[in-house]
């Protein structure tokens, strides 16, 4: 009956490869994400991030905020997360991060989205099946205000070596 579903199935692969990352290519990444208070409390407490701005409402108000501030490292990991299917899901280590700036506070209820551009790429001498790609990523809130910007560098599989 359904016994041949495996034989009939065609893999829908995810992610792009080295050859896809032409310098200057622009990406608008999928999904977006509204960050809520639960996300923020969970993230800040799990990562032992002990600045009360991120989990004490009265403390945040005393510092000029109307709500608790979303932990900037949750803002970073979320904007990064939105880029992964396009950039790094097909494999390759996350090597480094440069020039990350937090540009304005994010509050619970804000919706983040991500855009990026390919900055540069080169072949890897140590890993012939891979290349090294650097992207510049920006995260925006629902008012299109930039909240974060960074450059990240990854090893990326080459088409010749993939799967």
């Amino acid at each position: 009956m359904d016994a041949d579903f495996r034989a009939r199935a065609v893999l829908k692969p995810k992610g792009l490869l080295y050859e896809d990352f032409v310098p200057g290519r622009h990406f608008k990444h999928h999904w977006g994400r509204t960050l809520n208070e639960g996300d923020n409390s969970l993230f800040s407490t799990l990562t032992l991030h002990y600045n009360p701005l991120y989990f004490n409402l009265e403390y945040a108000k005393a510092h000029g905020h109307k709500q608790v501030v979303v932990n900037p490292y949750l803002v970073f990991t979320t904007v990064f997360g939105l880029t992964v299917e396009d950039f790094s899901e097909a494999g390759g280590a996350f090597l480094g991060l440069e020039e990350l700036t937090f540009e304005r506070p994010v509050y619970a209820g804000d919706t983040l989205r991500a855009e990026s551009e390919v900055v540069s790429r080169r072949e890897s001498e140590k890993n012939p099946g891979q290349g090294i790609v650097t992207w510049s990523t920006q995260g925006f809130n629902q008012r299109d205000e930039r909240v974060i910007a960074f450059k990240r560098t990854n090893l990326v599989n080459r088409r010749s070596a993939a799967r």
Partner: protein, 158 residues
Amino acid sequence: MNPAEFTGDDNYFEDFVPGAVIRHARGKTVGEIDNVLITNLVLNTAQQHFNQQLMEQTRFGERITFGGVTLSLIIGLASEDTSENALAELGVDKIRFRTPVHHGDTLYAFTEVLGVKDAERPDAGEVHFRHWGVNQKDELVFEGERRVLVKRRPRAGK
């Protein structure tokens, strides 16, 4: 409510002296609750972080912790001593991931004060840190720099 009563008194802007190196007191053993939960929470779709069977077929043999989690944990481990009295995180730079982190590894953080400078607002200053993260085998797993806007010590009675 006096906000100053919620935070320590040894980590205001004036307390950071360039060249000082801090060994932070706590470590954290990284588990699924850190890596898989946060990776999934932030929509990071790379299954190298959450598909154990896939990773058993690779030279790693097991899931690898998302670098964003490693970074957040090292800064978290350093946070009480470096930014409990911060008004804002300004940025990070020169971040490198040196060794993969696996479930069961225990991370520790170290910090050097690289520099301090005045900020635009008079009640705070900017502190420039270098952080290192090491595992239970004392291998370097993470290093990078970070800038934080830290409150100056409030005057008495304020």
